[in-house]
Amino acid sequence: MSPYEGQTFFGFFSQLFIRLWHSVSSSDFSLASDEIQILALVGIAISSALVGSFLVLRKMTMVGNALSHTILLGILITFLMTRESILGEITYHKAEPMHIQSLLLASLGVGLLTAFLTETLHRKLRLQEDASIGFVFTTLFALGVTLATLLTRNSHIGTEIVMGSVDALQTEDLKLVWVIAAMNLVLTLLFYRGFLITTFDARLAAMLGFSATFFNYLLMAQVSATVVGAFRAVGVLMVLTFLTGPVLAARFLTHNLNRLIILAIVLGSACSVIGVALSRHFLSVYGLSLSTGGIVVCVMTLVFAVTALVKHAKG
């Protein structure tokens, strides 16, 4: 029985604060499912805002889309290697450090593979850039779905992959999400100057010795990790809203990179919390069991529309 059962939207928040107090004061505390969802989505929102900001500014969002598709292969490879998986009904073991490591390594590998194949098609075979990336990720994704269907013997696995299942998240999933969020925070802080310069001034970057290629690949590695973390919660496609929505909304409100990232993090997290609260509200009041991930996306879209209107009205 979840402590949030039967709560309406505003009741949800009062319950949340009660629980917050409870978590600090009491020794016997375990996370309710709604709280796990909030923590997971917020963690994903933080990672997404960090990498998404640079993706948007460097006009590489399609690469983000591509990676979120091809990552499926990375997850399958991890499954084959460790016999543990974050896919569907296959038994999900505790996220041992080894497991997270192999998952991240595999995702990095697939990210590099995607980049390599795209570059080969574009540079060596002189194919158009848009067609190159489109061909690579749709093919790798189709391959992934086929393999996943064969391995899990579940013909509906494809659906689960694109829909995610926020409601099925466990405490173990939080570990993966927050390890990745921490990683992204550290890497972004560490390489901040480099990211900044290679994004805005290619010539200056070259003069100062910052390798544009290095930062591109670093960003792609971070994106790969981010989408792996988001995979189970929101699935392949909705993570793209996490990556672009809050950043685009924040962009209407500020042009300063620092503020943009922080604002994106705040907006993304807020949408996540509101989304979970709304999901609970719809269940309690209307008896509708809606996709929480979907609701968060709807909220993010709404926030985007509102900020766009505000900016447009100001002129």
Partner: protein, 304 residues
């Protein structure tokens, strides 16, 4: 299963010929989209169809009394068409009015529309579970339940696209290759642009039944890439794209049917349906890789 039976058998020919016609439509338009360097627009359009699909399903549940598969197909297509155009309109607004770069606009629209669709779908999941499953089949395509009526339906839609391209061949070629020149000669550039967008949306909406929402954009990308490696004449390029699409549609169906049978036999439990979409996409990808290799080898032998 002999290959001929795929065209004659009452159960098989609907899916097979239907898929072939759909993929041919997508690939033909894909060729034009390819030369306009808008290959990724298909991604946005296809994902934007998803909420419309669900709306079509809802509409069907209100209108239809008995099991009318054709009505369902048509309503789904209308809904999909509507939201796809809406998505395209949003991408335009994002780019023109809000000064958002093209790639971010596409990605945001495609994912948010899809998310809205998922929210709607989750609602339908419990209220109309039978219909929900039918709608979800459009995610990766399920040609299996198509009948002869669909062959006529999709054949007509392919014909519309073919006629449009044949009649406006000169305009499409000139506007795509050299827009300013086309304007200087007095061609109706804006009107043709609009027509092409409508045709692209139509092709996508037609394609999602066989390949599914998630993967249909690859039918606009892979066959044209393959065709491009085999010819440098524009007219031939269009024809080859269509043919390769046709072939992919067949191969994909053949593979998924054979694999489904193989697996159903093994599992013995519920009938295992291998989704059509990925098989068609992989077939197209295979043909594409084959063409790329062919071109590379030909280049090497030419040089030596």
């Amino acid at each position: 299963m002999s290959i001929l039976s795929y065209f004659t058998d009452a159960l098989l020919r609907g899916p097979t010929v239907g898929s072939m016609l759909m993929c041919a439509t997508a690939s033909l338009i894909g060729a034009i989209v390819y030369v306009r360097k808008q290959s990724l627009v298909g991604e946005a359009l296809s994902h934007a169809t998803y909420p419309g699909l669900i709306l079509g399903v809802l509409l069907y549940s209100w209108l239809a009394n008995e099991n009318d598969d054709l009505l369902l197909s048509i309503l789904i297509m209308i809904g999909a068409f509507f939201t796809a155009l809406l998505g395209l309109y949003c991408v335009n607004i994002l780019q023109r009015k809000l000064r958002i770069s093209g790639d971010a606009a596409l990605c945001f629209v495609l994912s948010s529309f899809f998310g809205i669709g998922i929210t709607l779908a989750s609602h339908v999941q419990f209220t109309h579970s039978m219909l929900y499953r039918k709608a979800q089949a459009y995610l990766y395509g399920q040609a299996a339940t198509m009948s002869d009526i669909h062959i006529i339906l999709y054949g007509s839609l392919l014909s519309i696209v073919l006629v449009a391209i044949l009649v406006l061949y000169k305009e499409i070629l000139t506007i795509t290759f050299n827009r300013d020149y086309a304007k200087s000669v007095g061609m109706p550039v804006r009107k043709i642009d609009t027509l092409l967008f409508l045709l692209t949306t139509l092709a996508i909406v037609v394609g999602i039944r066989s390949v599914g929402v998630v993967l249909v954009s690859s039918m606009l990308i892979a066959p044209p890439i393959a065709a491009r490696q085999l010819t440098h004449r524009f007219s031939t390029f269009l024809i080859l794209s269509l043919l390769i699409g046709l072939l992919s549609g067949f191969l994909g169906n053949y593979l998924s049917t054979e694999l489904s049978q193989r697996f159903s036999a093994q599992e013995l439990k519920t009938r295992f349906i291998f989704p059509t979409g990925p098989s068609i996409v992989l077939s197209a990808a295979f043909l594409c890789v084959f063409s790329l290799l062919y071109k590379v080898i030909r280049k090497r032998t030419h040089q030596s």
